[in-house]
Structures are given as structure tokens and as C-alpha cells.
């Protein structure tokens, strides 16, 4: 089970909203190498691990990726505060706004909704950990 702590892992204090930037950053939330994919990959692969240190470490990392998910969502939320209709249209944010207004929806920058097809879980520790290397390497 999990317990929520009412704080971000890292502070987010954005002075100037910028919907154009939000359109790109959203990929880090729900894109192929985003935080949701990262968390879900560790969260579901942990059951295949044989050693306690791996079960524990994958659990810890899956949990931390959820904290990252919240940091990215906070960035998106603050980047899209108090937008005028003109700002929404001029920034190109209108293609997102038409479906979600300023709600936070896990999708890639291309508009593709988050899908579990972004990750694998094969029931074999070495296979899964190799998949993790590819996934985390892709965003470094």
C-alpha cells in the first residue's frame, strides 16, 4: 500500500504561464519515456524479481517515479494557469484545450494517449532489467 505525503519531491514555482512549453513537457508525463511509463514498468516488473534487494529497489524506484509524475503535473498545471482565449490559440495549445481544457491528461506531445504498450514485463529479471536500462537510458 502507499501513503501520500503532501509535498512535492522538488519545488515547482512557475512565475509565467507558458502553454506552448506545456505542449512539449507533457511528453515527460504520459509519453513513451515519461514518468508514468517509468513508474508502471518498475511497479509491474517487481513481481518477477527473486532477491529481496531487487524486489525492494524496484518498489522504491516505482514509488519515486510517481513523485516525479507529480512534479511534472505540477509544472504543467502552473504553466497553463489563467490563460486567455487569445493565448490558447496563439500558443497552439488549442489542439489540447479542445479535448481537455487545462486538465492534466497523460499523453505524449504528439497527442497519443498514455498506453501500457510503452513498456514490457516478461517475468524474467535479466530481461526486465535490460528493458529498464533501455527505457531510462532513452531519457538521459
Amino acid at each position: 500500500m502507499w501513503i501520500y505525503e503532501k509535498k512535492l519531491q522538488y519545488p515547482v514555482r512557475i512565475q509565467n504561464p507558458n502553454p506552448k512549453l506545456a505542449k512539449v513537457i507533457i511528453s515527460q508525463l504520459g509519453g513513451p519515456d515519461g514518468e508514468l511509463a517509468a513508474s508502471m514498468r518498475y511497479m509491474h516488473q517487481r513481481y518477477a524479481m527473486k532477491q529481496g534487494k531487487l524486489k525492494g529497489t524496484l518498489t522504491d524506484i516505482a514509488t519515486e517515479e510517481l513523485a516525479h509524475l507529480e512534479v511534472i503535473a505540477a509544472i504543467l498545471h502552473q504553466l497553463t494557469r489563467n490563460l486567455t482565449p487569445e493565448e490558447i490559440t496563439a500558443s497552439g495549445f488549442d489542439t489540447y484545450f479542445v479535448d481537455h481544457t487545462a486538465g492534466i491528461y497523460p499523453q505524449a506531445a504528439s497527442g497519443t494517449p498514455f498506453t501500457a504498450a510503452y513498456f514490457q514485463s516478461k517475468g524474467d529479471p535479466i530481461t526486465d532489467l535490460t528493458e529498464d536500462l533501455a527505457a531510462d537510458g532513452a531519457i538521459m
Binding site: E5, K7, A74
Partner: protein
């Protein structure tokens, strides 16, 4: 408000250290110096959290006020600019 932000930032820094040490200790469970550092930051964090909860409200639901008024759901929430 800035004092609250500073104290929160201190807690976030202790958490960062604790989490890094946690991952290290997962694979180095007998490392005495890592355990010593973990104990040190755990105590520092506990003291900072106690102070934060007393002055600004709960960080977990269990720390909510159960004498006067349940304050767990009080604004702001972490994703809001005012909370940071």
C-alpha cells in the same frame, strides 16, 4: 510564507539524501558509514517535520489536527504555486 517555504525545502533536502542512501543501502546493507549517514538525516528530518506540522499543518493525513479541526485537506495542495 517564506519561512514555511524554507522549512519545506529543508525537509525536501533531507528526503533527497535519505532516498539516495536508501537505494545505496538496498545493495550495500552492511555499509556502516551509509547507515550512520542515514541515521543522521533521519533524525534531522524528524525534527524538521515535527516543526513543520506544528507551524503549518500536516504532511500526512495521520498528522492532521484531531483536537480542533481536521486540517488535512486545507489549501494549498503541493502542485499549486502557493505551496512552493
Amino acid at each position: 510564507m517564506n519561512e514555511r517555504r524554507d522549512l519545506l525545502c529543508t525537509i525536501q533536502q533531507y528526503d533527497f539524501a535519505l532516498y539516495d542512501l536508501q537505494l545505496y543501502l538496498n545493495t550495500h546493507p552492511t555499509c556502516a558509514s551509509a547507515m550512520r549517514q542515514y541515521k543522521k538525516y533521519k533524525a534531522l528530518k524528524q525534527a524538521a517535520v515535527e516543526q513543520y506540522v506544528r507551524l503549518y499543518g500536516p504532511l500526512t493525513a495521520e498528522q492532521s489536527d484531531t483536537e480542533n479541526q481536521w486540517n488535512w485537506t486545507k489549501n494549498p495542495w503541493p502542485w499549486e504555486k502557493e505551496a512552493n
